[in-house]
C-alpha cells in the first residue's frame, strides 16, 4: 500500500450507485470532473469519513481507514483531512477568524495562537478586513474564501475541495488557484472547469453516473477523451459510429475516413477543424453536411458555434467570420471537415 489516497469500492446514495477506483499519489492533486449527480461529492465524503463505504477499501497514507469487510472505520476527526464543502457549511455562530481557527484549536493550539494563525490565513485569501464578520454578513464569495482558509489552516495531510473556486470573482480565483497550486498536499479537487483542472491538477479523473470513465494526465484526457461527455466538456467533438472500411455511419448521417477500419469506433475531431459555410461548399471534402446553429459563444477573438447535427458538435471560427456569416441560433449552415482531421479510436 502506497502513500497518498486510494479508494476502491462503492456505496449507494438514493438512486445512484457509486462504484469506482481512485488513487492520488502523495503530494499530488487529482481533479475530479463529472456531470451533476455523478457522485463527486459522495466520493469526497467517503474519503473524509462522513459516509462509510458499503464495500471496498479506502486507505490514506498507507493506513486503511474504511473497510467494511474487516469492520475497519476511522472516524472523520481522526483522518487529518481538510474539506471545503460545496455548500460551505461555515459555522454561523462564529466570526470568520473563529471559523478558520476552529481546526487549529481542535488540534490543540491555544486560542491566541489559533486566532493569530487564522488572521494570517484570512489575509492570504484577501479577507483581512472581514476577519470579525459572521458568515451571514459575508458575501457569497467572501464566505467561500473563509471556507477555503478554514480547511487549509490546520495543514491537513489530505485536501478535499468541492468546487472551491466556484463563487469567486475571476481575479480572486486566480489568486487562490495559485495558492492551492503551491501546496504540496495530497488533494482531490472537484471542478466543472477543465482549465481549472489543468491549472490545479496533475491528474484528472472523470466520474459519470457513479463510475470512473477516464483517468489520466490532463493532456492525455484532453487529447483522447473517452466519452462524449468528456469531449463536450473539453470542447472536442467525439461522435460514436460504426465503421466499414472508410465509411462510418453515425447517428443521422455518415462520415468518411482517410484510413479504413472496422467495427464500433469513436470519431474525434477538433472544433478548429470544422469549417462553416453559408451554402454548400464547392471542393473535394466529402465530409460535408447541413446543420442548424444552436448556440454561439464568444471566447476572446473566437466564436464557438454549436451545431444541431451531429448532436452537440462544435465548430470554432474567428469572431470576424462568425459576424460575416451572421451566425446565430437558428441559422442554417453547411459544415465541412477534412477526412485527414478525423481521429479514430475503437469504442
Amino acid at each position: 500500500m502506497t502513500a497518498g489516497v486510494s479508494v476502491v469500492g462503492g456505496v449507494r446514495r438514493g438512486t445512484l450507485t457509486l462504484d469506482a477506483e481512485l488513487h492520488v499519489e502523495a503530494g499530488r492533486t487529482l481533479a475530479l470532473l463529472g456531470p451533476n449527480g455523478a457522485g463527486k461529492t459522495t466520493m469526497l465524503r467517503l474519503v473524509a469519513g462522513l459516509t462509510p463505504l458499503d464495500r471496498g477499501r479506502i486507505s490514506i497514507d498507507g493506513v486503511v481507514v474504511d473497510e467494511p469487510a474487516t469492520a475497519t472505520f476511522a472516524v472523520a476527526e481522526s483522518r487529518s483531512v481538510g474539506y471545503v464543502f460545496q455548500e460551505q457549511l461555515l459555522f454561523p455562530h462564529l466570526d470568520a477568524v473563529d471559523n478558520v481557527a476552529f481546526g487549529l484549536r481542535c488540534r490543540g493550539r491555544s486560542r491566541r495562537d489559533s486566532r493569530a494563525a487564522a488572521v494570517r490565513w484570512l489575509e492570504r485569501v484577501g479577507l483581512g478586513e472581514h476577519a470579525g464578520a459572521r458568515p451571514r454578513h459575508l458575501s457569497g464569495g467572501q464566505a467561500q474564501r473563509v471556507a477555503v482558509a478554514r480547511a487549509l489552516a490546520p495543514e491537513p495531510s489530505v485536501l478535499l475541495l468541492d468546487e472551491p473556486l466556484a463563487a469567486l470573482d475571476a481575479v480572486t480565483r486566480s489568486t487562490l488557484r495559485r495558492l492551492l497550486a503551491d501546496l504540496e498536499v495530497t488533494t482531490v479537487v472537484v471542478t466543472h472547469d477543465p482549465i481549472e483542472a489543468r491549472a490545479l491538477a496533475d491528474r484528472v479523473a472523470v466520474l459519470e453516473a457513479g463510475r470512473l470513465t477516464q483517468e489520466g494526465s490532463p493532456d492525455e484526457v484532453a487529447s483522447h477523451p473517452a466519452t462524449p461527455w468528456i469531449a463536450g466538456l473539453l470542447g472536442v467533438n467525439l461522435v460514436p459510429g460504426e465503421a466499414q472500411g472508410t465509411d462510418v455511419s453515425i447517428d443521422g448521417g455518415a462520415l468518411h475516413l482517410a484510413e479504413p477500419t472496422d467495427g464500433p469506433i469513436w470519431v474525434a475531431f477538433e472544433p478548429n477543424a470544422v469549417v462553416v459555410h453559408p451554402g454548400r461548399p464547392a471542393g473535394s471534402s466529402r465530409n460535408v453536411w447541413r446543420a442548424t446553429v444552436t448556440e454561439v459563444t464568444v471566447e476572446g477573438d473566437r466564436a464557438r458555434v454549436l451545431l444541431s447535427q451531429p448532436a452537440g458538435v462544435a465548430a470554432l471560427v474567428t469572431r470576424g467570420s462568425a459576424d460575416e456569416l451572421g451566425l446565430a441560433p437558428g441559422v442554417e449552415v453547411w459544415a465541412a471537415v477534412k477526412a485527414t482531421e478525423l481521429a479514430v479510436r475503437p469504442r
Binding site: E77, F85, F91, P92, F102, G103, C106, P154
Partner: protein, 259 residues
Amino acid sequence: MTRRPPLVLVAPAAAAVAFLVLPGVALVQRAPWSSLHDLLTESAVADAMRLSLVVSLAATAVAVALGLPLAWLLARVDFPGRALLRALVLLPMVLPPVVGGTALLFALGRRGLVGQWLDRWFGLTLPFSTTGAIVAATFVAMPFFVLTVEAAIRQSDPGLEDAAATLGATPLTTFRRVTVPLVAPSIAAGAALTWARALGEFGATVAFAGNVPGRTQTLPLATFLALESRPEEAIALSLVLLAVSLAVLVSLRRHWILR
C-alpha cells in the same frame, strides 16, 4: 425589511396575550397595596423568596447539566428504544405534582427504593432538606428543558457537525462548540421554561420535601398556606413572585439579545 404582520395571525396572538395576561391584571387589581410593604419586609417572606431563588436556580442548573446531554442523545444518537425513552422522559410532566412528590418519596425517601441506601451509606436524607426541595423541583421541571432542546437539535443542520469532524473535532468538542451554540436560543428558552416551572413548583415539593420554613418553604408554599388563612397576603406573595420572575426574565432576555 419591515414586515406587516397579517391580521389573521395578529388577532389570535392578541387573544392569546389577553388571555395569558388578564388574570395577572386581576391579581394586581386585588392586591392589598396598603399592607404590601409590611409584608415584604417580613423576614419569613424574605426567607421564602431567597429560598425560592436558590431552589429554582439550582434545579435549573441541574436540569441543564443533565438535560443537555440527554437532549443531544435523544436527538442525535440512534439507539433501540429511543422513542420509548423520549416518552418516558416526559412522564414527570404528566404526573400530578403531588403524586410525583409521593413517587419521589417512594424512590428517594428515607425508606425508599434507593433512598434507604443513600441514608444507610451516606447518611443522606433528602426529605425536609433544601436538597430535597431542589430534587423535587428538578424532577418536575427537567423534562421541559430536555424536550425543548431536543427538538431544536433535531432541527439544526447536521452538516455543520460533519464540518466540525473534518476539522478534527471530537464528538464532545463538536457538541460544545457547534451543536450547543447553534441551539442557544432554544437552550435559553428551555432554561427559562425550566426555571419558571421550578419557581412555581408546589405539589411535588410539599409531598417530597415537606414544608420547613427556611429550608423547604419556598414562596409558592408560603403562598399556598397564606391562601388558606389570609388570601390577600397570598395575592401579595404571588405578585412578588411574578415581579421577581419578570425582572429576571426581562434582564436575561436583554443579556441574550446583546450577546
